[in-house]
Amino acid sequence: MTTATANKYLVSIGLEVHVQLKTNSKMFCSCPVRYGDEANTLTCPVCLGLPGAMPVLNLGAIKRTIRSGLMLGCKTPPVVKWDRKSYFYPDMPKNYQITQFDLPLCEGGGVPLYDLAYPKEVQKNIPEPGKTIALTRIHLEEDVAKSTHHATFSSIDFNRAGTPLMEIVSEPDITTPDEAFAYLNSLRQILVYAGVSDADMEKGQMRCDVNVSLRPQGQEKLGSKVELKNLNSMSAVRRSLYYEIERQGEALDAGELIIQSTRRWDDSIGETRLMRTKEDAHDYRYLPDPDLLPLHTPELVAEAKIDLPELPHEKVTRFEEDFGITHYDASVLASDQNLANYYEQAATGASSAKKVANWVINNLLGVLNEQGLDITTCPLTAENLRELVDLIEAEQISNSQGREVFAALLESPDKTPSAIAKEKGFEPADSSEIDAFIDQAISANPGPAGEVSEGNDKAINFLTGQVMKLSRGKANPKQVGEGIIARLRG
């Protein structure tokens, strides 16, 4: 958005995020939730909406929604219910969707925009880091079937029909496209932490509609809302918002009236196109679903609270406190739950949790990235990484030997670090041996030795290097340095 637009208009953005829940079965029947099967093989009278079929609630989906709500600080009303939302469309077998209208599973709450949950370039553009975007509600509904449009006909696959779908609705608290991007990233991270969904937008597990309105600086009342559809990636959300804010700004500048409408984002040309205006909006004629009884929630909420996972930012704080690592390192490690688990396993009981963090961030992540692996497929076990760091810390091997052991461990994951060190002959040199190397280095380099005696510290490094070479890396550089000083300045 150009500074001109930003200065003249206040921008309000709200997001509606649909998340497919990781459940074994569909929302109202026992058909499995699975992808990639032959079309229309995962169906039954219920998810096909056949005459006489009736829905039965999937408690697993309800529990996961309550769990998500608790992690996002929402409240669950003591009684919730389901409603029929009527509109005709071939991908909806009953021509009404079972959703929640006025008594959703979760109300209120918010998504905190923690830094480091999203890329640096986005962080730079966020006006208020640490801001929390308020949520209106989270409700649970059923997904529709998947339509495919061909030249002269359309086909429908009902395998997806009835998949549990959690809709998370934010207040229009978001003010920039980058904030919307950060919101999606932060939200996704929390949902993944909650274990309720993989929330991958590219796979359609997380889908998002946004609405955006502009109003002149100083005006209280929100401007007319424009809804954007067909946003298939987080970057599409950001780019469409940049485009749409600019478009609305220019329209307002030209004295045009923005009308409440829905526009479709075309990712290939980078523009939004009008789909429909408010006049053609549906009257959904919500009706409490007489096939489903209202649900009492207090026990479910109490149960969900028992094993609530810690939030990403809580983990960051705990890592800082428990392991004495920096906020930055803790954020990197906590950005992914599996990575955090790996680190925690390796760092717990390690001689230096900080060194473990360095090894993970500076060495391990790079190697995994190069080899196209992730932490769950990492050949180096957390135990072996801990042992490696312990060997170095105990000065059993040097840092550079440690790097060799690390590389060897990736090749032979079954071996232990000490076994590899032994194979390579990395054993700590004994002190008499080191003393002999120091003597040898001093007599071979009288010049630098003289400089050390006169107080030149740089020359210590040179002599240390010579000793390390003589010891073939076995000596501990710190010990060698101290030995040289003792000899020449003692």
Binding site: G52, M54, S86
Partner: protein, 478 residues
């Protein structure tokens, strides 16, 4: 036809086999149904195949039961009395009650005619055929389960299943002179019953005797994991209520149900039945159900609102009547539904759509829900004073075919005594209690309605059976 009890006895004694029973029925249907037009379809070969392997040790082993054509039976058509589904839908699954019937050994045989999608009180709204009342074939059999009642009255069935949304079991049972029991909402699974109004619909038995109703109700009652409105409440042994004494039970007579609009002959017949109950030891008590006058309006708002969404699935996308003249998708929806649905169904869909529309919801649907609560409260309070409520089932005996076709309001008003039980969710039974005589000398059956507390079907069976045993109204039309 023999009753279920009699049929079971002849099976046990070896006098009859289930195949014999099916063949006898098939012959009667052949000779009778051309006139009565009560069956939409029947598959004798399939029934005979089931009869051949019937397990007579089961409670309903080898007993054929006619099924209202609104209940899914795997492999059979299920027309719901509609052109939309006639020849265009075969049920791929068994309804909950069908599974239970099969588990009890019964053989579903014959699909009974009905008002289209159970909307109506005369079966004239069937788009398939017009069913005639076996007592006077110029008259309607009642509805919407008119076919189920007529097949019993015409000796074309041993027993049948009907469904009751506002009286659709009790009213045709009364007009055809058989027993019809509407169970408490939640007693019987609705899974597989094509929904008209989900919060009111309930499947129930239609039989020749109260004892048979108890046997059939026993078989179909109880929890079904596929229907979350079907309760886990324990099912009592309904047969144990047969033959129980009714001395000292209090029977409420709602003054609103004996007021204006009630045919004098029907009134005197029902009053005689109440006197008979009194002579058996029951104690009549006058009561009031003050919100009765709002019941019909309330019912037509709630039932049509639910129906408008229930029937939205009939869109011709995957099954059902698809118009051949559609220009596009919306046009296909419009024309297919326009061509496939009858007038009454369209009237109710439009009414239901209207009452749920933005801006009208509070004034109609929400208000109706509030009144429904008051009606329910009327019954709760009444049942603090009495054990059962007795009343007529219908204000008049069966009327002539075509007589009320152009006057939907007159038709709706005829449901006045039965509708409230559905709104309140309580149980009710219609038991034959006499006849009125037409000008041309024909007998028309009259029904006595007994309403019971929630899940007290046992009380209906107890009083219904005591009454039935002490009278001689149980006969078929022939």
């Amino acid at each position: 036809m023999p009753t279920i009890t009699e049929l079971r006895a002849s099976y046990q004694s070896g006098d009859l086999s289930p195949s014999d029973a099916i063949r006898t029925l098939a012959d009667t249907i052949e000779s009778t149904d051309r006139e009565i037009q009560a069956y939409i379809s029947y598959d004798t070969d399939a029934a005979l195949a089931e009869a051949a392997k019937a397990d007579l040790s089961l409670p309903l082993g080898g007993v054929p039961v006619a099924i209202k054509d609104v209940i899914n039976v795997k492999g059979q058509p299920c027309t719901c009395g509609s052109k939309f589904l006639d020849g265009k839908y075969t049920a791929p699954y068994d309804a909950g009650v069908i599974k239970k019937l099969r588990a009890a050994g019964a053989i579903p045989y014959g699909r009974a005619n009905m008002d289209e999608f159970a909307m109506g009180s005369s079966t004239e709204n069937s788009a398939i055929q017009t069913t005639r009342n076996p007592w006077d074939t110029s008259r309607i059999p009642g509805g919407s389960s008119g076919g189920s009642a007529a097949v019993i009255a015409a000796n074309e069935a041993i027993a049948a299943l009907g469904s009751d949304t506002g009286g659709s079991i009790r009213q045709p049972a009364a007009l055809c002179g058989c027993v019809g029991l509407k169970p408490t909402y939640g007693r019987v699974s609705r899974y597989g019953l094509v929904a008209f109004a989900s919060s009111l619909d309930q499947i129930g038995p239609m039989t020749q005797t109260v004892e048979d109703a108890a046997l059939l109700l026993q078989a179909i009652s109880g929890h079904d994991a596929h229907d979350s409105t079907c309760v886990k409440e324990a099912v009592p042994d309904f047969n144990s209520f047969v033959g129980q004494d009714i001395k000292g039970i209090k029977i409420g007579l709602p003054k609103e149900y004996f007021a204006e609009g009630l045919d004098p002959e029907v009134k005197s017949t029902v009053e005689a039945a109440i006197t008979q109950l009194e002579s058996l030891g029951a104690e009549p008590v006058e009561i009031s159900l003050p919100h009765t006058e709002y019941a019909i309006a309330t019912y037509y708002i709630i039932a049509t609102a639910e129906a408008s969404t229930n029937l939205a699935r009939f869109d011709a996308v995957r099954y059902g009547h698809r118009s051949e003249n559609a220009a596009n998708l919306i046009d296909q929806y419009r024309r297919s539904r326009e061509e496939g649905f009858g007038e009454e169904v369209k009237r109710r869909i439009i009414l239901g759509t209207y009452v749920l529309s933005s801006g009208y919801y509070d004034a109609y649907y929400l208000q109706a829900q509030k009144v429904r609560t008051l009606i329910r409260k009327d019954f709760t309070e009444a049942f603090e004073k009495v054990d059962l409520i007795a009343s007529p089932v219908t204000p008049t005996p069966a009327f002539k075919i075509g007589e009320k076709s152009d006057d939907p309001m007159a038709m709706y008003l005829a449901d006045i005594y039965t509708i409230s039980a559905n709104l309140a969710g309580i149980c009710g039974i219609s038991v034959p209690c006499g006849f009125t005589r037409t000008d041309d000398g024909k007998q028309l059956p009259v029904g006595l309605q007994l309403l019971g507390k929630p899940f007290a079907e046992g009380d209906l069976i107890k009083a219904g059976h005591a009454y039935e045993k002490s009278t001689d109204w149980q006969k078929t039309a022939s």
